[in-house]
């Protein structure tokens, strides 16, 4: 009995081991069959990825490198990337990263492969790549702790899309100040009889700071004081919270505290909102043929100035290389190709705002600015690139928590549960341990 059992278990173990070995050989470390060179990328499903994907076969043909792309929605891609990095897995070579959100956290954990040595090596990066052609503030946002942690792939910033026909109908003009913006919203609410929401904006706690930032900065405030403390104890902070909560809460759709860009763009494209406060990126959603009911009736302007001037927020995504990548050379080839001047122009022609300055001046690209909306859009984007603040929230290692602290407090004002003054005090108290010495953990 016993020898039979032992023999049986040995057979099972050997079979399992050989199957595992076969599995590792077939897909292990991401090597394609036949020993071809491979790069594994995890990308978020957003306009950049959708525009880039059709060109990947060209890259594969040019380089002989097989590209395996996994695309997920924002939350899922973030989770997939994080788990892969946490497990030090070599299965992912390239990933999309938002330096303003997870940059410090990932850099502290050592997840990014620094790209400085790749960029500075002429054998790996020829002069034709024109590394200096990237917008400097965007490139700076990809430098953390003195290391280059990614290459910018796009540029965006919060703006206000508006319905030109409704503005004409209600006799209002593009606001120059935040006070005028509130006054316009009030007029729309009154004159539309409540049938049109004056504005659709972000209320979801984690998403809110992106569009709230300019309201704060336009009061003449930076996120942090010169001593590194939060600036929410200043009177301007209370005013910024009050303005934002009134605009988005009082003049926004019901249930706005759960809304992000998806809901806002859907409302605007369906003709239910007169304005949309969101990213320049959303132009593709609200002008999508077939789903947009407001085509030809859209204009766009920068968030109006406040007492402290006009200070838009600028944000960019980047392509980063995992420190644990199994195919670093191939990964750099892929990043270099996706961010090259030629590919950036191709992507710009598909509506992806390029972080390369020369692309926006290219005659081919200029020829695409053939509608009033596209011309205005490029103008507001130029302002964002030139003067934008790259800090979406007070910089900290635990940036997601920082944004939640701000979002929750502003939401409470929108819900009428707290005053703006109490919310500001709550944020000040909540942010102190997060942004203090080195950003906490």
């Amino acid at each position: 009995m016993r020898p039979r059992i032992i023999a049986g278990y040995t057979a099972v173990l050997l079979t399992t081991a050989s199957l595992a070995a076969c599995g590792a050989g077939a897909g292990g470390a991401g090597t394609a069959a036949g020993g071809a060179k491979t790069v594994n990328a995890v990308l978020e499903n957003q306009p950049f990825t959708r525009a880039l994907t059709p060109y990947i076969p060209e890259f594969e043909k040019q380089t002989g490198i097989t590209v395996n792309v996994q695309t997920y929605s924002e939350q899922q891609s973030r989770q997939k990337i994080l788990v892969t990095l946490q497990s030090h897995s070599p299965a992912m070579d390239v990933f999309m990263s938002l330096p303003s959100l997870e940059g410090k956290e990932y850099a502290k954990a050592g997840y990014y492969q620094p790209l400085d040595s790749y960029v500075s090596n002429p054998k790996l990066t020829p002069a034709s790549y024109q590394f200096s052609g990237f917008s400097k503030p965007l490139l700076d946002s990809e430098r953390i702790g003195g290391h280059l942690i990614g290459i910018p792939i796009n540029v965006e910033g919060p703006v206000i899309f508006y319905r030109t026909d409704l503005f004409r109908q209600y006799g209002i003009s593009v606001p120059r100040t935040l006070s005028q913006l509130l006054a316009d919203a009030k007029i729309i609410k009154a004159k539309s009889g409540g049938k049109i929401y004056p504005i659709a904006g972000r209320g979801l706690d984690s998403a809110l700071p992106y569009t709230f930032g300019p309201f704060f900065h336009n009061e003449g405030l930076q996120w942090l004081s010169s001593s590194g403390q939060p600036n929410f104890d200043k009177p301007g902070a209370v005013q910024a919270i009050s303005t934002y909560a009134t605009l988005v809460g009082k003049y926004g759709p019901p249930g706005v505290v759960n809304n992000s860009f998806t809901q806002s763009s859907a409302l605007f494209a369906q003709g239910k909102a007169a304005m949309e406060l969101d990213s320049t990126n959303e132009i593709s959603s609200i002008t999508a043929p077939g789903s947009s009911q407001v085509l030809g009736k859209i204009g766009v302007f920068n968030i109006p100035a406040g007492p402290g001037g006009s200070h838009p927020t600028v944000l960019n995504w980047g392509l980063s290389m995992s420190r644990y990548a199994a195919h670093k050379k191939e990964a750099w080839e892929f990043i270099k190709w996706a961010t090259s001047p030629q590919m950036q122009l191709k992507l710009a022609l598909k509506g992806i705002a390029s972080p390369r300055i020369a692309v926006s001046k290219n005659p081919k690209y200029q020829a695409t600015l053939n509608t009033p909306l596209r011309k205005q859009w490029q103008q507001v984007l130029n302002v964002i690139i030139a003067t934008g603040n790259p800090q979406v929230g007070p910089p900290a290692v635990n940036e997601p928590e920082v944004r939640k602290v701000i979002g929750d407090a502003v939401d409470q004002v929108m819900l009428g549960e707290e005053s703006a003054a109490k919310a500001a005090a709550q944020i000040q108290q909540g942010l102190r341990p997060l942004v203090g010495t080195g950003g906490g953990a």
């Binding site: 994080l82 706690d205 249930g255 505290v257 819900l415």
Partner: protein, 328 residues
């Protein structure tokens, strides 16, 4: 003897004379039960190799993760993957004494648990009774009402997002039509929990009803008929005879739903991510956020250990009640 007394006696007699299989045996277990029996071990040791795969799987899938979570909760885990310094019970102390969100999430978890369980048990009993009746087309209806429970929870969440949508949702259209106003179901901290109670009750009541229907159909007919012969009305028969006989089935169904309800996660994650302002943040949502958004795995493990203890206490309590009622 009144009809009511007769019914009472009948139910007691049935419980005493016809105990469920295994209950009386367990009740009569003599001294030494559960103790180490060397002879028994010698007789059965040949079974060990056959049990080995199950033991290895249990260790790998249950014991190791729990042990690792405990280790994480007493260390300061670093995002680089190292466990960091020993933290002792400081995470537990912080959770209990300095984290109001832990208590809020515990409160929300318990509110959801109690409300959903009560609603689903009561409605499930009523629906289960209807399903147990022999009417034409019963099997078709039985298959149809199970649809909510077999749809993936993420799909259910996305569907109810549209139902609760304040601008195009049917929920507001109904409440508006009834003159009850148009609440921002998911956008108001005062209504969001009730919105999830409604959703979960819609999703899982059919599951409870099916269990109850099967239980009702398997009940012995004699006590019920005897009660009716003695003059008990339908309600008395159901309340005094049917329900006590059905109690073991009810306890099992409640146990199954309890374990699932305590770790309420998927629909909330899809629909509100715990908002607005943490008003739908359950312990599971909170633990997920701390672990996967804030990258604080040690504190997330501490919260999950608290959740595990809660599940064990509730499941243990229900099991204890079941055994006690069976012994009686």
């Amino acid at each position: 003897m009144s009809a009511q007394a007769a019914v009472h006696d009948m139910s007691s007699a049935q419980t005493v004379l016809a105990p469920r299989a295994g209950t009386a045996e367990r009740g009569r277990a003599g001294p030494g039960k559960g103790r180490w029996d060397r002879n028994k071990w010698r007789r059965n040791k040949g079974a060990l190799p056959l049990l080995a795969p199950a033991i290895v799987l249990t260790a790998a899938l249950i014991i190791f993760p729990i042990a690792y979570a405990i280790v994480l909760s007493v260390t300061n885990w670093q995002p680089s993957g190292t466990l960091g310094s020993f933290a002792g019970l400081s995470h537990y102390a912080h959770m209990l004494a300095h984290d109001p969100l832990f208590w809020d999430s515990l409160r929300i978890t318990l509110i959801l648990y109690i409300c959903c369980l009560v609603a689903q048990t009561l409605l499930g009993l009523a629906l289960g009774y209807l399903l147990s009746l022999d009417v034409p087309g019963r099997s078709i209806f039985q298959a149809l009402i199970l649809v909510p429970s077999i749809i993936a929870s993420v799909a259910v969440g996305l569907m109810w997002l549209l139902i609760y949508d304040p601008t195009i949702g049917v929920a507001d259209w109904i409440t508006g039509g009834l003159g009850l106003g148009r609440p921002a179901w998911l956008g108001d901290p005062h209504t969001v929990v009730w919105a999830f109670v409604l959703l979960d009750t819609w999703e899982w009541t059919p599951f409870m009803a099916l269990i109850f229907a099967a239980g009702i159909r398997s009940l012995p007919r004699e006590p019920l008929e005897a009660a009716r012969t003695d003059g008990a009305g339908p309600w008395q028969t159901a309340w005094r005879v049917g329900l006590p006989l059905l109690r073991p089935i009810i306890v099992i169904a409640v146990l199954l739903r309890s374990v699932d309800l305590i770790r309420f996660f998927d629909t909330i994650y899809v629909m509100t991510q715990g908002g607005p302002v943490n008003s739908s943040t359950t312990l599971n949502i909170y633990g997920y956020r701390i672990g996967f958004t804030d990258l604080n795995m040690s504190y997330a493990a501490t919260l999950q250990i608290a959740l595990l203890i809660l599940v064990i206490v509730i499941a243990g309590g229900i099991t204890w009640l079941r055994r006690r009622s069976q012994v009686e």
